[in-house]
Protein backbone atom coordinates (compact mmCIF):
# COMPACT_ATOMS: atom_id res chain seq x y z
CA UNK A 1 0.00 0.00 0.00
CA UNK A 2 2.86 2.44 0.28
CA UNK A 3 4.85 4.39 -2.29
CA UNK A 4 8.57 3.92 -1.90
CA UNK A 5 9.89 6.48 -4.39
CA UNK A 6 9.32 10.20 -4.21
CA UNK A 7 6.71 11.21 -6.81
CA UNK A 8 7.45 13.67 -9.59
CA UNK A 9 7.05 17.34 -8.69
CA UNK A 10 7.12 16.64 -4.95
CA UNK A 11 7.42 19.81 -2.92
CA UNK A 12 8.79 20.40 0.55
CA UNK A 13 7.49 23.17 2.78
CA UNK A 14 9.99 24.46 5.33
CA UNK A 15 8.55 26.82 7.92
CA UNK A 16 10.72 29.64 9.23
CA UNK A 17 13.18 29.28 6.37
CA UNK A 18 14.40 32.85 6.00
CA UNK A 19 17.56 32.18 8.01
CA UNK A 20 19.45 29.76 10.25
CA UNK A 21 18.50 26.10 10.32
CA UNK A 22 15.38 26.64 8.18
CA UNK A 23 17.31 28.25 5.35
CA UNK A 24 19.97 25.55 5.44
CA UNK A 25 17.27 22.85 5.39
CA UNK A 26 15.52 24.47 2.41
CA UNK A 27 18.78 24.58 0.48
CA UNK A 28 19.70 20.97 1.34
CA UNK A 29 16.28 19.62 0.31
CA UNK A 30 16.47 21.51 -2.98
CA UNK A 31 19.91 19.97 -3.62
CA UNK A 32 18.23 16.59 -3.18
CA UNK A 33 15.66 17.41 -5.88
CA UNK A 34 12.70 18.67 -3.86
CA UNK A 35 10.83 21.77 -5.02
CA UNK A 36 10.82 23.98 -1.94
CA UNK A 37 8.38 26.39 -0.33
CA UNK A 38 10.44 28.82 1.77
CA UNK A 39 8.07 30.06 4.45
CA UNK A 40 8.70 33.28 6.36
CA UNK A 41 6.72 35.38 8.79
CA UNK A 42 8.24 38.83 8.30
CA UNK A 43 11.78 38.47 6.93
CA UNK A 44 10.91 38.58 3.25
CA UNK A 45 14.45 39.53 2.26
CA UNK A 46 15.88 36.55 4.09
CA UNK A 47 13.38 34.22 2.44
CA UNK A 48 14.20 35.64 -0.99
CA UNK A 49 17.91 35.13 -0.30
CA UNK A 50 17.15 31.48 0.43
CA UNK A 51 15.09 31.18 -2.77
CA UNK A 52 17.90 32.77 -4.77
CA UNK A 53 20.50 30.42 -3.30
CA UNK A 54 18.31 27.49 -4.35
CA UNK A 55 17.71 28.84 -7.86
CA UNK A 56 21.39 29.68 -8.36
CA UNK A 57 22.14 26.03 -7.65
CA UNK A 58 19.59 24.92 -10.25
CA UNK A 59 16.67 24.16 -7.96
CA UNK A 60 13.06 25.40 -7.78
CA UNK A 61 11.67 27.40 -4.87
CA UNK A 62 9.23 30.13 -3.98
CA UNK A 63 8.92 32.26 -0.86
CA UNK A 64 5.57 31.89 0.91
CA UNK A 65 4.54 34.31 3.61
CA UNK A 66 2.53 33.18 6.63
CA UNK A 67 2.66 33.27 10.40
CA UNK A 68 2.31 29.63 11.40
CA UNK A 69 1.15 30.62 14.89
CA UNK A 70 -1.93 32.23 13.32
CA UNK A 71 -4.86 29.83 13.60
CA UNK A 72 -6.78 31.40 10.75
CA UNK A 73 -6.25 29.30 7.65
CA UNK A 74 -2.49 29.75 7.32
CA UNK A 75 -1.66 26.04 6.82
CA UNK A 76 -4.25 25.69 4.06
CA UNK A 77 -3.14 28.92 2.38
CA UNK A 78 0.53 27.90 2.37
CA UNK A 79 -0.04 24.36 1.17
CA UNK A 80 -2.63 25.27 -1.47
CA UNK A 81 -0.34 27.94 -2.90
CA UNK A 82 2.54 25.50 -3.16
CA UNK A 83 0.31 22.84 -4.74
CA UNK A 84 -0.75 25.36 -7.39
CA UNK A 85 2.72 26.71 -8.13
CA UNK A 86 5.18 23.89 -7.51
CA UNK A 87 3.55 20.52 -6.92
CA UNK A 88 2.04 18.32 -4.19
CA UNK A 89 3.44 19.05 -0.74
CA UNK A 90 4.89 15.73 0.35
CA UNK A 91 7.46 16.94 2.87
CA UNK A 92 6.87 19.31 5.75
CA UNK A 93 9.65 20.58 7.98
CA UNK A 94 8.19 22.20 11.09
CA UNK A 95 11.12 24.43 11.87
CA UNK A 96 9.58 27.78 12.81
CA UNK A 97 10.39 28.45 16.43
CA UNK A 98 10.87 31.26 18.89
CA UNK A 99 12.14 31.70 22.42
CA UNK A 100 10.84 33.94 25.20
CA UNK A 101 13.05 33.07 28.14
CA UNK A 102 12.52 33.55 31.84
CA UNK A 103 12.37 31.49 34.99
CA UNK A 104 9.02 29.75 35.36
CA UNK A 105 8.29 31.72 38.53
CA UNK A 106 8.44 34.95 36.49
CA UNK A 107 7.24 33.89 33.06
CA UNK A 108 4.24 35.87 31.78
CA UNK A 109 1.25 34.03 30.30
CA UNK A 110 1.92 35.76 27.00
CA UNK A 111 5.50 34.45 26.85
CA UNK A 112 4.32 30.94 27.66
CA UNK A 113 1.50 31.01 25.10
CA UNK A 114 3.44 32.40 22.18
CA UNK A 115 6.26 29.87 22.52
CA UNK A 116 3.79 26.98 22.77
CA UNK A 117 1.74 28.36 19.85
CA UNK A 118 4.65 28.85 17.46
CA UNK A 119 6.79 25.86 18.43
CA UNK A 120 4.16 23.19 19.11
CA UNK A 121 0.58 24.08 18.18
CA UNK A 122 1.66 25.41 14.78
CA UNK A 123 3.41 22.10 14.07
CA UNK A 124 0.17 20.26 14.83
CA UNK A 125 -1.93 22.51 12.55
CA UNK A 126 0.60 22.37 9.72
CA UNK A 127 0.94 18.59 10.02
CA UNK A 128 -2.83 18.07 10.09
CA UNK A 129 -3.19 19.89 6.80
CA UNK A 130 -0.09 18.42 5.16
CA UNK A 131 -1.19 14.85 5.93
CA UNK A 132 -3.93 15.10 3.33
CA UNK A 133 -1.79 15.17 0.18
CA UNK A 134 0.70 12.78 1.77
CA UNK A 135 -1.88 10.12 2.62
CA UNK A 136 -3.42 10.48 -0.83
CA UNK A 137 0.00 10.05 -2.48
CA UNK A 138 0.93 7.17 -0.17
CA UNK A 139 4.19 9.08 0.39
CA UNK A 140 5.13 11.75 2.92
CA UNK A 141 7.81 13.08 5.16
CA UNK A 142 7.15 15.18 8.25
CA UNK A 143 10.23 16.35 10.10
CA UNK A 144 9.81 18.29 13.31
CA UNK A 145 12.73 20.36 14.48
CA UNK A 146 12.81 19.67 18.20
CA UNK A 147 15.80 20.36 20.48
CA UNK A 148 18.05 18.81 23.07
CA UNK A 149 16.15 21.18 25.38
CA UNK A 150 12.97 19.42 26.32
CA UNK A 151 14.28 15.96 26.95
CA UNK A 152 17.06 17.82 28.78
CA UNK A 153 16.62 20.72 31.18
CA UNK A 154 17.66 24.28 30.45
CA UNK A 155 16.86 26.75 33.21
CA UNK A 156 15.02 29.77 31.89
CA UNK A 157 13.39 27.87 29.06
CA UNK A 158 10.52 25.96 30.62
CA UNK A 159 8.16 27.14 27.87
CA UNK A 160 10.60 26.18 25.11
CA UNK A 161 11.41 22.87 26.82
CA UNK A 162 7.71 22.05 27.19
CA UNK A 163 7.02 22.85 23.54
CA UNK A 164 10.00 20.87 22.26
CA UNK A 165 9.34 17.87 24.50
CA UNK A 166 5.73 18.03 23.35
CA UNK A 167 6.92 18.01 19.77
CA UNK A 168 8.73 14.72 20.36
CA UNK A 169 5.60 13.13 21.85
CA UNK A 170 3.53 14.45 18.96
CA UNK A 171 6.06 13.04 16.50
CA UNK A 172 5.88 9.54 17.92
CA UNK A 173 2.11 9.28 18.06
CA UNK A 174 1.41 10.76 14.64
CA UNK A 175 4.11 8.52 13.17
CA UNK A 176 2.22 5.43 14.32
CA UNK A 177 -1.09 6.78 12.98
CA UNK A 178 0.08 7.17 9.40
CA UNK A 179 2.96 4.74 9.00
CA UNK A 180 1.08 2.30 6.84
CA UNK A 181 0.36 4.98 4.27
CA UNK A 182 4.08 5.46 3.56
CA UNK A 183 4.22 8.67 5.58
CA UNK A 184 7.09 8.97 8.05
CA UNK A 185 7.16 11.44 10.93
CA UNK A 186 10.43 12.10 12.73
CA UNK A 187 12.11 14.71 14.84
CA UNK A 188 15.58 16.21 14.60
CA UNK A 189 16.95 17.52 17.88
CA UNK A 190 19.70 20.06 17.40
CA UNK A 191 22.02 20.95 20.27
CA UNK A 192 23.93 24.22 20.23
CA UNK A 193 23.89 25.39 16.64
CA UNK A 194 25.56 28.63 15.52
CA UNK A 195 22.57 30.77 14.53
CA UNK A 196 21.02 34.05 15.63
CA UNK A 197 19.02 32.13 18.25
CA UNK A 198 22.24 31.19 20.10
CA UNK A 199 24.59 34.07 19.30
CA UNK A 200 24.32 35.60 22.76
CA UNK A 201 25.23 32.41 24.58
CA UNK A 202 28.53 32.49 26.51
CA UNK A 203 31.37 30.23 25.31
CA UNK A 204 31.10 28.33 28.59
CA UNK A 205 27.82 26.88 27.31
CA UNK A 206 29.93 24.59 25.11
CA UNK A 207 31.57 22.98 28.16
CA UNK A 208 28.81 20.37 28.20
CA UNK A 209 29.30 19.52 24.53
CA UNK A 210 31.77 16.67 24.03
CA UNK A 211 32.60 17.95 20.53
CA UNK A 212 33.57 21.30 22.17
CA UNK A 213 32.06 23.35 19.39
CA UNK A 214 28.72 24.57 18.19
CA UNK A 215 27.17 22.75 15.28
CA UNK A 216 26.33 24.40 11.97
CA UNK A 217 22.91 24.79 10.37
CA UNK A 218 24.22 22.64 7.49
CA UNK A 219 24.88 19.77 9.88
CA UNK A 220 21.28 19.88 11.05
CA UNK A 221 20.09 20.19 7.46
CA UNK A 222 22.00 17.04 6.52
CA UNK A 223 19.98 15.08 9.08
CA UNK A 224 16.71 16.50 7.74
CA UNK A 225 17.77 15.73 4.18
CA UNK A 226 18.32 12.08 5.10
CA UNK A 227 14.99 11.76 6.90
CA UNK A 228 13.22 13.33 3.91
CA UNK A 229 14.84 10.95 1.46
CA UNK A 230 13.54 7.69 -0.03
CA UNK A 231 16.32 5.89 1.86
CA UNK A 232 14.73 6.78 5.21
CA UNK A 233 11.39 5.16 4.37
CA UNK A 234 11.62 2.76 7.29
CA UNK A 235 12.62 5.39 9.84
CA UNK A 236 9.63 6.79 11.66
CA UNK A 237 8.68 7.96 15.12
CA UNK A 238 12.33 8.58 15.93
CA UNK A 239 14.37 11.54 17.11
CA UNK A 240 17.77 12.14 15.53
CA UNK A 241 20.06 14.16 17.77
CA UNK A 242 22.51 16.55 16.10
CA UNK A 243 24.28 17.80 19.20
CA UNK A 244 27.98 16.93 19.25
CA UNK A 245 27.36 14.23 21.85
CA UNK A 246 25.57 16.41 24.39
CA UNK A 247 22.74 13.95 24.97
CA UNK A 248 24.85 10.82 24.93
Amino acid sequence: MSQKTRPEGATALVTGASKGIGAAVAIALAEDGWNVGVNYRSDKEGAERTVKAIEDAGGKAIAVEGDVSDANGVPDALISKLEDELGPVLALVNNAGITADGLAIQLEDEDWDKVIDTNLTAAFRMTRRAMRPMIKARYGRVINIASVVGPRANAGQSNYAAAKAGLVGFTKTVATEVARRGVTVNAVAPGFIATSMTEDLPDAALDVVPAKRAGTPEEVAAAVRFLASDAAGYVTGSTLYVDGGMSA
Binding site: R132, I135, K136, E177, V178, R180, R181
Partner: protein, 82 residues
Protein backbone atom coordinates in the same frame (compact mmCIF):
# COMPACT_ATOMS: atom_id res chain seq x y z
CA UNK B 1 -17.47 21.76 -8.24
CA UNK B 2 -19.01 18.93 -6.19
CA UNK B 3 -20.40 15.95 -8.03
CA UNK B 4 -24.19 15.39 -8.03
CA UNK B 5 -25.10 13.81 -4.75
CA UNK B 6 -27.32 10.81 -5.37
CA UNK B 7 -27.29 7.81 -3.06
CA UNK B 8 -26.04 5.71 -5.96
CA UNK B 9 -23.14 8.05 -6.71
CA UNK B 10 -22.16 8.26 -3.06
CA UNK B 11 -22.34 4.50 -2.67
CA UNK B 12 -20.02 4.10 -5.66
CA UNK B 13 -17.56 6.60 -4.21
CA UNK B 14 -17.60 4.88 -0.82
CA UNK B 15 -17.26 1.45 -2.38
CA UNK B 16 -14.32 2.48 -4.60
CA UNK B 17 -12.55 4.05 -1.63
CA UNK B 18 -13.10 1.02 0.61
CA UNK B 19 -11.72 -1.36 -2.01
CA UNK B 20 -8.45 0.61 -1.90
CA UNK B 21 -8.22 -0.03 1.83
CA UNK B 22 -8.34 -3.81 1.49
CA UNK B 23 -11.87 -5.29 1.76
CA UNK B 24 -13.08 -7.60 -0.97
CA UNK B 25 -15.57 -5.85 -3.27
CA UNK B 26 -18.17 -8.58 -2.71
CA UNK B 27 -18.07 -7.98 1.05
CA UNK B 28 -18.91 -4.30 0.73
CA UNK B 29 -22.65 -4.28 1.31
CA UNK B 30 -24.84 -1.56 2.84
CA UNK B 31 -25.19 -3.42 6.11
CA UNK B 32 -21.53 -4.46 6.37
CA UNK B 33 -19.89 -2.91 9.39
CA UNK B 34 -16.52 -1.25 9.09
CA UNK B 35 -15.32 -3.57 11.80
CA UNK B 36 -16.27 -6.63 9.72
CA UNK B 37 -14.49 -5.08 6.74
CA UNK B 38 -11.38 -4.40 8.82
CA UNK B 39 -11.64 -0.70 7.98
CA UNK B 40 -10.14 1.38 10.78
CA UNK B 41 -10.02 5.03 11.83
CA UNK B 42 -7.21 5.94 9.43
CA UNK B 43 -9.19 4.44 6.54
CA UNK B 44 -12.29 6.36 7.63
CA UNK B 45 -10.29 9.58 7.94
CA UNK B 46 -9.12 9.07 4.38
CA UNK B 47 -12.67 8.22 3.26
CA UNK B 48 -13.79 11.54 4.81
CA UNK B 49 -11.20 13.36 2.74
CA UNK B 50 -12.31 11.64 -0.45
CA UNK B 51 -15.92 12.55 0.28
CA UNK B 52 -15.01 16.16 1.04
CA UNK B 53 -13.01 16.46 -2.17
CA UNK B 54 -15.76 14.84 -4.26
CA UNK B 55 -18.93 16.31 -2.72
CA UNK B 56 -17.83 19.22 -0.55
CA UNK B 57 -19.37 17.46 2.46
CA UNK B 58 -17.19 17.72 5.52
CA UNK B 59 -17.29 14.77 7.92
CA UNK B 60 -15.79 15.60 11.29
CA UNK B 61 -14.16 13.21 13.73
CA UNK B 62 -17.34 12.94 15.79
CA UNK B 63 -19.38 12.03 12.68
CA UNK B 64 -16.94 9.31 11.79
CA UNK B 65 -17.20 7.97 15.32
CA UNK B 66 -20.96 7.43 14.86
CA UNK B 67 -21.06 5.70 11.48
CA UNK B 68 -20.78 1.94 11.84
CA UNK B 69 -21.80 0.56 8.46
CA UNK B 70 -21.33 1.34 4.80
CA UNK B 71 -25.02 2.35 4.71
CA UNK B 72 -24.53 4.78 7.61
CA UNK B 73 -21.74 6.52 5.70
CA UNK B 74 -23.73 6.81 2.49
CA UNK B 75 -26.85 8.08 4.29
CA UNK B 76 -24.89 10.67 6.26
CA UNK B 77 -23.25 12.10 3.15
CA UNK B 78 -26.56 12.28 1.28
CA UNK B 79 -28.22 13.93 4.28
CA UNK B 80 -25.45 16.51 4.72
CA UNK B 81 -25.37 17.37 1.07
CA UNK B 82 -29.11 17.75 0.76
Amino acid sequence: MPETVTPEAVETTVRDALVQFGPEPDDIKRDATFEELDVDSLDLAELSQIIEDEYGVKLKGEDVGKIKTVGDAVDLVVQRAG
